[in-house]
């Protein structure tokens, strides 16, 4: 049993470069010249761990960042370039002990076989703290980086053609996750026997072909990597609409959603829970986290002024798919607890400026939530599944 009270919520932080505001790199605390060093990422994750957060996610992409939703923008006034998120996570894993590490992986152009063993390996390296956040890409320029297929250009978000493209990409993502998960289970936990009498290192009856055949790929298996410490590392996805809600409901352990108020949160939670029931997963735990961009200061006017200053530097008002919070840690705690009543089990906060708002979360928000008995006072588990209250799952090939 978890020692955390039931009213407590889960907290993750989404790391992306110097922060989510496009002018964040210009803040004195931002360290933009260190973005491509291990030290930069180790420091951020250490700060998150200091705040007892459940996990960090790390953004990634198979092309340059862009302010445009579909094409490169050729801007020179924002951070461009990033390191592979799985490798960042692995690089910091030996330097941390408790915090979960959840890199983004793109399902659209990658091999599920490679992703499965990479996350399994991250789970070994972190002794049970790995997860992934699966993402699709409809960007034509990113498809051209691989040259294997063209993705029809989406003209408008709401057109039927766009829905078809998006549905197809999410179908592929669902297949991708299915293969990744089956490969994690393709070795039973006790497959390695080291039986000197027969000379066998493994009991091959405890290794399983996965025999997946899908529209975009077929994968035979088994994995080359034994079943990871958590059995099934965490699978998570960000979702804004019915198609991705379905992916979350069917395949994820954690879904990130972006309701702007409690009413919206209720509606989204209801929709995903209904999909979850339809998928026959009603008994499986599925966390739904609200995403928020945060500007945090002890004085609300200071937070607002900082946001304004950054907007001025950026030359435009910052907008986001997620609600943007500006205020004090105490006000944020109020808002999170209010949203929690709608059925959200946790939150993934996107620091507007990593160097400022991450410490404000760990040193301001976390103590505030602890005072309200709404957040852990110490890490109560050694694995990410443990922190999220998820049992280590039985292998699908092993009868209960």
């Amino acid at each position: 049993m978890s020692s955390t009270p039931s009213s407590s919520l889960h907290l993750a932080v989404a790391l992306d470069g110097t922060g989510w505001h496009p002018a964040s790199w210009r803040e004195p605390v931002a360290r933009p010249r260190h973005l491509f060093t291990a030290r930069y990422w180790a420091d951020l994750v250490a700060e998150a761990e200091r705040g007892l957060l459940d996990f960090v996610t790390i953004e990634d992409g198979l092309g340059p960042q862009s302010s445009h939703w579909l094409d490169p923008d050729e801007r020179t006034d924002q951070v461009r370039g990033r390191l592979d998120a799985v490798l960042i996570a692995s690089r910091v894993a030996p330097l941390t002990r408790h915090i979960g590490l959840v890199p983004t992986v793109v399902s659209t152009h990658t091999e599920p076989f490679h992703i499965s063993k990479a996350i399994a390996t991250l789970d070994y390296v972190s002794t049970g703290r790995a997860g992934l956040r699966v993402q699709v890409t409809a960007r034509p320029n990113e498809a051209a980086h691989f040259g294997r297929r063209t993705i029809p250009r989406i003209q408008a978000y709401d057109s039927p053609a766009a829905r078809e493209v998006v549905t197809d990409l999410f179908d592929e993502a669902a297949d991708h996750v299915e293969v990744v998960r089956r490969l994690w289970d393709s070795w039973e936990d006790d497959a390695e026997i080291r039986d000197a009498a027969t000379g066998r290192f493994i009991d091959r009856d405890k290794l399983h072909y996965i025999g997946f055949e899908g529209r975009h790929f077929s994968v035979k298996g088994p994995s080359i990597t034994p079943r990871p410490p958590q059995g099934q590392p965490i699978v998570s996805a960000l979702a804004h609409d019915t198609v991705p809600y379905r992916l979350v409901a069917r395949a994820a352990d954690v879904g990130y959603v972006t309701p702007h108020d409690t009413g919206q949160a209720r509606a989204i939670v209801a929709e995903i829970r209904a999909e979850q029931a339809a998928a026959g997963r009603v008994d499986e735990p599925l966390h739904l986290f609200g995403d928020l961009v945060v500007f945090l200061d002890d004085d609300p006017a200071e937070a607002a002024a900082r946001r304004e200053r950054l907007d001025t530097l950026a030359g435009q008002t910052y907008t986001s798919d997620a609600p943007i919070f500006t205020g004090t840690p105490s006000q944020l705690a109020d808002q999170l607890q209010e949203l929690q009543t709608a059925g959200l089990t946790g939150f993934r906060l996107r620091p507007a400026v990593a160097g400022h708002d991450l410490p404000a979360i760990t040193r301001g928000l976390v103590p505030e939530l602890q005072r309200r008995d709404a957040f852990r006072h110490t890490y109560e588990a050694d694995t990410l599944r443990g922190l999220l209250g998820l049992a280590r799952p039985a292998n699908r090939h092993v009868a209960d």
Binding site: R26, A38, R80, D84, V92, A120, R200, F201, I224
Partner: protein, 458 residues
Amino acid sequence: MSKPLKQIHLAAHFPGVNNTTVWSDPRAGSHIEFSSFAHFAQTAERAKFDFLFLAEGLRLREQGGKIYDLDVVGRPDTFTILAALAAVTEHLGLTGTINSTFNEPYEVARQFASLDHLSGGRSAWNVVTSWDAFTGENFRRGGFLPQEERYSRAKEFLATANELFDSWHGDEILADQETGTFLRDAKAGSFVHTGQHFDIHGQFNVPRSPQGRPVVFQAGDSEEGREFAASEADAIFSRHATLEAGQAFYTDVKSRLAKYGRRPDQLLILPAATFTLADTDAEAEELAKVVRRQQVSGATAIKHLEFVWNRDLSSYDPDGPLPDIDPDVSDNHISKGRAQVRMYRDPLTTAREWRELAAANNWSIRDLVIETGNRQNFIGSAETIARTIDDLVQADASDGFILVPHITPTGLDEFADKVVPLLQERGVFRTEYEGPTLRHQLGLAHPDDLQGEQRAAS
């Protein structure tokens, strides 16, 4: 005048997924827990080794249609484990084998450039190729690649990756907080590649890494492989660790460099080498025999005989005589997923020779497999092994060795403690690392300096 002493390069091969690795030894630890990799890497770094080397296999081996269960089975993802090892070491190079058939240049270039950033310039890439449909069954591409195209794909893959590495020059990131200019050039990372295997364009999204490009290794031994190495590689992971074979290979490959405008010191020859170390030479010889018997159990002997016979020989007694029947020479091979079986190109002749050898020496199947199998390259006391290694390198049989211990993860400990100090005393092995990057340890120029050098020479 004697020529100056060559400095020896040493690397540590994490014990592999094959029968060289003795898992049945009481000292043998996990092959998958990170603590094993960390111990192994830290031992190599303590001994001032140039780099750690990781092999790769993208499908579990099978024999007779069943997963091969007698050797160590299971390994981590190459990139992910190397990135983690960068956190527990400071100078050790991190060399990973990455297949050019079941990956795409954009991803692999991102991963190597990222690893190079995250390790402060210690990444290296052993470029291997494969074509088998067997492995392809785990991937989107499947096994479509004809065997004759594997080097052409590998070459174009590497060339394309180099174009991606070079698409950033290193001076693009200004990150000027005052003026608000992050990038000097909006087009940073732009590339266009049109070729037989890849037709891609766009922008690479990882800025120039400390080494510019990862150090490139090549491992193939064929004519094509040697030519590929001479034109493209910084080092060769070779299999010729003996004096004569080593010298022949060394001379052959180094002589191919001139036609690519390269000097002999721009390509290092580093054979894989096993060793058995003991207090005296006599003890080491005895120990080496014990290890070879550990490496070839009766069950393993039968399976190895099947490589040549290409038949199910499970009914044979490993302590009995060799089969009278001849090998099956049909194309469909009993063993899948290993390169080794291709070494027996004429199985009928090999079978006949082996029967004669076994009869002449009164060998059982297991004896035969042990005696014809690989003997440890270096057997002896620390003094003997240090002298042997030094002699081989000074005689241009190699530029150093990639040592393959047979015990995970402690198999390198004794070598580090006993042999390395003797090499240092002989003045042929470093006592301190030469610099922060793997190129420093290997004496290889940074690609930018190299291009400058070539421009100046032309």
